[in-house]
């Protein structure tokens, strides 16, 4: 059919004839094969190139900020807000830019919120995963599965909105006494948007990922191992604790690592509920510590995004981005390493 419809065209061309077409087609099968593989490979390599370009660009763009501050970039000293303000109001001619920047309050805020959230999330998610796999009756499980999936799907801005409009005012009115506010009013303003509220909401955001990973690992624990333990008269909790959870330890580490990456990158929710003040909460402050505001690295990018056109501010923000990217790269390496022991058992996490 195709031959006949193509005939007028091919007779016009010098090579002409259906024989030539047939030969072309015969050689074409292998050629098409190669073309197909090349095309698909090209797409994959294109994606790789884009991602590689991203890493390089962010590093290159942020380099001046690192170069001017040296290792002190990561240190403490001064107020981040006034340092960035000085950049915005500083000279606009190349060569005279102000670069002075000390990121420690931001780094500390990030470490604090991420660390506490991951620690809390690990405890919650281990118990939740054990509940889902071992103890939940099938009817309860039919509820909790979609609930976890929904928790994972709720946009961070919705978490942030609930945090800042519902939880933060409640915390401010009920948990922070007037005396406590007055005791530190010359240092920092205590509001409902603070490190503990931010950490709690962040925990809620990372729990679904961790639960999902731990549950899928728990389900692949060889049944004979559990049966062996049960046959020795060990009860279900002990069996889970001593056999199943031991087996999936690498998966728990991998879950923690992935959750850390998610918590590091969370910008919007933290920009909304963490107080937005680059203050480094001091654990030595006692209970007040839990009500002190923070600002994380990622939420600083969001807070100053309108000034990204100002060259030194932009370069500082890119430097912050490079730190985040580097940490995320390290974390994905760590999660790969954490998953290796699982392969021995033929368990995929």
């Amino acid at each position: 059919m195709f031959e006949s419809s193509n005939a007028p065209r091919s007779s016009g061309s010098p090579s002409g004839g259906s024989g030539a077409r047939l030969r072309l087609f015969g050689g074409g099968a292998a050629a098409a094969e190669r073309r197909g593989e090349l095309a698909l490979g090209a797409v994959a390599v294109g994606v790789l190139a884009v991602i590689g370009a991203m890493a390089v660009t962010v590093l290159v763009k942020g380099w001046p900020s690192f170069a001017h501050n040296g290792l002190a970039w990561f240190g403490s000293g001064g107020d981040v807000t006034s340092q960035l303000g000085a950049m915005i109001n500083g000279p606009k001619t190349p060569g005279h830019y102000v670069y002075h920047f000390r990121a420690w309050p931001l780094i500390w805020g990030t470490l604090l919120t991420t660390g506490m959230a991951v620690l809390l999330g690990m405890i919650v998610s281990i118990f939740a995963a054990v509940f889902i796999v071992e103890f939940a009756p099938s009817r309860v499980r039919a509820v909790i599965d979609p609930v976890i999936r929904l928790l994972a799907g709720v946009p961070s801005v919705v978490y942030g909105l609930i945090g800042i409009l519902a939880i933060a005012p409640w915390v401010e009115h009920n948990l922070i006494s007037r005396e406590r506010k007055r005791s530190v009013e010359y240092v920092v303003q205590l509001t409902g948007a603070n490190v503990s509220v931010a950490t709690l909401i962040l925990t809620l955001m990372i729990v679904p990922i961790m639960v999902a990973i731990v549950v899928s690992a728990l389900e692949t624990v060889p049944r004979s191992w559990i049966e062996g333990s049960a046959a020795l008269g060990v009860n279900r909790w002990r069996t889970t604790w001593r056999v199943s959870l031991r087996t999936v330890r690498p998966a728990i580490v991998a879950a923690a690592v992935l959750a850390t990456a998610r918590a590091l990158g969370e910008a919007i929710m933290l920009a909304m509920v963490s107080g937005g003040v680059p203050f480094a909460p001091n654990p030595l402050d006692g209970t007040t510590f839990f009500f002190e505001p923070v600002r994380t690295l990622a939420s600083t990018i969001i807070a100053y995004i309108d000034s990204v056109e100002v060259v030194p501010v932009g370069q500082t923000l890119y430097a912050i981005g490079a730190v985040l990217l580097f940490s995320c790269g390290l974390l994905s390496l760590a999660s790969w390493a954490a998953k290796q022991p699982m392969k021995r058992y033929g368990i995929r996490a």
């Binding site: 098409a32 197909g36 593989e37 698909l40 994959a44 390599v45 994606v47 790789l48 590689g52 370009a53 991203m54 660009t57 962010v58 763009k61 919650v124 118990f127 509940f131 889902i132 071992e134 103890f135 939940a136 509820v143 909790i144 979609p146 929904l150 928790l151 799907g153 709720v154 946009p155 961070s156 801005v157 919705v158 942030g160 909105l161 609930i162 800042i164 409009l165 519902a166 729990v207 049966e227 049960a230 046959a231 909790w237 604790w241 998610r262 590091l264 990158g265 969370e266 910008a267 919007i268 920009a271 990622a298 990018i301 923000l317 890119y318 981005g321 985040l324 990217l325 995320c328 790269g329």
Partner: protein, 341 residues
């Protein structure tokens, strides 16, 4: 306490239990456990039920707030810049923006993702390249979207890519538009599409491919006619998950879409001007109307967040349907393969 020996004697002593664990479960009463184990058991229940309660409370809270502030007129009017909430208009533009951006993002991510997944599972040559692609996809799945948006800001400000956004009078390229934001959005949806497609492709037994080759089909035909049709529902579920991620993302919208009040077209051509112009989505609308943004209009923020949550819920239900179709379809594609060709 008195029950434990009862059930034990009730089971016939001659017949050994079929599954040791089942028999164990029957005798293994929580009441007989040590105190610490019982505490742990209670903690498991508390955490599980607690998570459900927190989620339901959150959804219920948003439902109450959303229903009380949402109205039909809100959905169909454009937003206005006004100091008080009574005159600041509706959320038509954010809804349009969300739909448009999601469509662009997934339209780029779906073919790219499927192509990458097919290459990774069917060709994978050379091996080092495959591993590099694999780990870069993994890395993008873990990278914060702020970073991706940031990268987009540099990339799309290049003069060569000026056609994607607007160029100011001074000749500098703006870099912010639906097209540029959609392109970066496709990157955050990509890992989900790749993962679910690839997962399904690796589960197809190799004899299905071999049967197709034995019939004289080429690899390309095998992929197009045998492999891809059988993983269709997995592609769909990956796409739904990706769309959910695009809808919920705020950072990219704030950085690369401009997060303006309305959809601001650029140029005269109707559709193209919107695509090249800046805009707003539900997420950025919520952010700018929350106390953290400039708007500070609680009612509008709640209404928009409610619409956002409904969209996410719908996508969740869809993903669940595709997902279950995927798991049940394990045997189905087999039969289809047997009967059609």
């Amino acid at each position: 306490m008195s029950r434990a020996p009862l059930t034990a004697s009730a089971s016939p002593p001659l017949a050994p239990p079929a599954g040791a664990i089942l028999a164990g479960r029957r005798r293994d009463r929580v009441g007989s456990w040590p105190l610490l184990d019982r505490l742990a058991f209670g903690l498991c229940w508390a955490v599980g039920v607690g998570l459900c309660v927190v989620t339901l409370a959150m959804v219920g809270f948003m439902l109450v707030k959303g229903v009380s502030y949402l109205s039909l007129s809100l959905l169909v009017t454009h937003p206005n810049a006004a100091p008080d909430q009574a005159r600041s208009g509706g959320i038509l533009d954010p809804i349009e923006g969300t739909l448009l951006l999601t469509a662009i993002g997934i339209a780029i991510a779906a073919p790219l993702g499927v192509a990458v997944a097919v290459w990774l599972s069917e060709h994978k040559r050379p091996a080092w390249l495959a591993r590099a692609v694999e780990s870069s996809i993994e890395m993008i799945a873990g990278a914060p979207s702020v970073l991706l948006a940031f990268f987009g800001l540099i990339l799309f400000a290049r003069p060569a890519l000026a056609f994607l956004s607007q160029t100011s009078a001074g000749g500098s390229v703006f870099g912010k538009s639906f097209l540029t934001a959609g392109a970066i959005m496709s990157l955050i949806a990509l890992p989900l599409v790749v993962a679910s497609t690839r997962e399904a492709l690796t589960q197809i037994p190799s004899h299905a491919r071999e049967a197709s080759y034995a019939l004289g089909k080429t690899k390309v035909t095998t992929i197009r006619r045998v492999l891809l049709p059988s993983v269709r529902s997995n592609i769909a579920s990956g796409m739904t998950l990706g769309m959910g991620r695009i809808i919920g993302d705020t950072a990219i919208v704030v950085i690369l879409l401009g997060a303006t009040l309305r959809l601001e077209g650029a140029g005269a051509t109707p559709l193209l001007s919107t695509l090249r112009g800046t805009g707003v989505t539900l997420t950025s609308y919520v952010l700018s109307n929350s106390p953290a943004g400039e708007g500070n209009a609680h009612e509008k923020a709640y209404a928009a967040a409610f619409v956002l949550l409904v969209l996410v819920l719908v996508l969740n239900v869809l993903a669940l349907r595709f997902g279950s179709a995927g798991t049940n379809g394990g045997g189905r594609w087999w039969r289809r393969l047997a009967w059609t060709r």
